[in-house]
């Protein structure tokens, strides 16, 4: 079998998601050592423009452009991926541990009787073996695993696991006209797109997270303003979501999302294990809390002990100034 790597590319509002560039960068680093090929696989409708942006990141770009792929359905997407994998027989298929990745990859792996590793955070080539790094028990344990390579294996990685590095490449575009079959047992009645927030929580480089110490939903406005300045996102603790101050989509932690931004700022977040399990892989953690004994300080790099309602306006002003200087 070849050592070629497939990367399943995801788009959002017509542009390629950052996580897909991260995966392509890592795949390319590995494939150069294995003298193999990285295929960026992009499927959907009207994806041609986006496909051009992949050429610098992959040796070959496989484009499946079909009106039937306009709305996401696992059955059509898996049908297309299945045909491509049979044709190109890659050694490994990489994808993102996102809502879509989680829906497609395990079922695809089952179809090929292939190994699946989900929600990984790292990959290292040792000899000819790709070692995959995967956190367990909310990050209390890190496991390193490898797949038997007697069949294609499938891995999904969390966003922000790898840095984006362009390697000199000018990937050839391959247009595949494939059959797209829907599973007749499923009828997609309607798609409701949520009002598009700027950045995906899991992909954000900057997250400012509010806890119960924010005292009420109205006080999240300033967090929104800071997030906007930093081109990041507002997150929330479970207590905040359970009190219906914020949507579940914002929840960080064990029963919410796992995030690894470059900078996480927790405001009035107590630091319950439930929450820290979802954010302790952040690069830099800042905590603002008036209680010097708050648990969150055990997980933070930097802390301010003060009233957050005094801190936030000043922080906003300071960050705005910094942004303007850059």
């Amino acid at each position: 079998m070849s050592k070629d790597i497939f990367v399943f590319v995801e788009c959002k509002n017509g542009s390629i998601r950052k996580v897909s560039f991260e995966l392509l960068s890592k795949a390319k680093e590995i494939s150069e050592k294995l003298s193999s090929i990285v295929y960026a696989v992009i499927i959907g409708s009207d994806v041609e423009a986006a496909a051009n942006n992949l050429q610098e990141f992959a040796d070959k770009v496989i484009v499946v452009n079909n009106e039937k792929l306009k709305n996401y359905r696992w059955d059509t997407y898996i049908h297309v991926m299945e045909q491509l994998i049979r044709k190109y027989t890659p050694y490994a298929v990489f994808g993102a541990s996102t809502v879509t990745g989680k829906d497609i990859f395990p079922r695809l792996a089952a179809k090929f009787n292939g190994a699946i590793i989900s929600d990984a955070v790292g990959a290292v080539l040792e000899g000819e073996i790709i070692k995959i790094k995967k956190p367990l028990f909310g990050g209390k344990i890190i496991s390193w695993v490898a797949c038997k390579d007697d069949s294609t294996f499938f891995v999904t990685f969390r966003p922000n696991s790898f840095s984006v590095e362009k390697r000199p490449s000018n990937g050839e575009l391959i247009y595949e006209a494939l059959d797209v079959a829907e599973d007749a047992r499923i009828n997609l009645v309607r798609v409701d797109k949520a009002e598009s927030k700027k950045v995906d929580l899991q992909e954000a480089d900057f997250i400012i997270c509010g806890g119960r110490g924010m005292k009420g939903p109205e006080n999240f406005q300033i967090l929104e303003e800071i997030a906007e300045i930093m081109e990041g996102r507002v997150g929330a603790s479970r207590a905040v979501v359970d009190s219906k101050w914020r949507d579940y989509d914002d929840q960080i932690g064990k029963s919410g999302k796992t995030v690894s931004p470059k900078l996480y700022i927790g405001c009035g977040v107590s630091g319950a294990l439930h929450h820290t399990m979802g954010m302790d892989t952040s690069k830099v953690i800042v905590a603002v809390n008036k209680d010097p004994n708050a648990l969150i300080f055990q997980y933070a790099d930097y802390g301010i002990v003060d009233d957050l309602f005094d801190v936030l306006p000043l922080l906003k002003e300071g960050l705005l100034k910094t942004k303007q200087e850059v």
């Binding site: 990050g139 009645v189 900078l263 905590a287 300080f297 997980y299 910094t322």
Partner: protein, 263 residues
Amino acid sequence: MNILVFIKQVADTEARISLKSDKRSLEIENKYNMNFFDEFAVEEALKVKSKIKDSQITVCTYGAKKAVEALRTAIAMGADKAFLLDNTGLDNDDPLITSKILANFTKNGGFDLIFCGRQAIDDENANIGTMVAEFLDIPHVSAILKFDIIDEKKVVVESEIEGGKATLEVELPALFTTQKGINEPRVPLITGVMKAMKASINVIDPVTLGLSKDIIDTTASKISVLTYETPAGRPAVKIVDGETTGEKVKSLINILKEDAKVL
């Protein structure tokens, strides 16, 4: 309706977990629960049962003998029958094998409707549900937020998709994974707990499900654990000092710019 719910017993979030000296196995404190997302699956099954007469709820797990505790929790909530597919002697943790075992159990049961949690909180894999659906060749819908029975052959569900929600009509039999928000799982009543303590749990050796041992034993695993590590901890927090709040914030921004280099 013949309803099946897959559940998993997982280590409690607060359980202490450490490496054994070989670094290939783990020591887990004896604190276990039913997986958080599976509670929504059991609850949704109970809601269906309350709407459709003569429904029966079977719960099933593939796991160690102690996983009967999680099955008893499901019975305490209101499930009718419980099956433990005992993994003693089949010490593997490969989703491909687990889903084949669960699929084979399901094939023999004539189920109309299958629920399970969107993912387990110990490995955060989100693999088993959709893989079982593939082995059964039935449709699935991941991360459902709403579930409505139209008739015995058809349901309408709302599910989480990237950047929004999708509404789908699905023919049964089908498998659905439950997301937080679909319902409020009930807390078992004391009478339920008493009933669960007395309930008999069916224990099955997976080998008897029609899968040959070489497909499900340890050597069949396509994934090997090379080593476990504990994550490198963070150095102690640096509390940013200052006479006034303004000074503290100024100093923090400086540190984030100059030392941490994240601004």
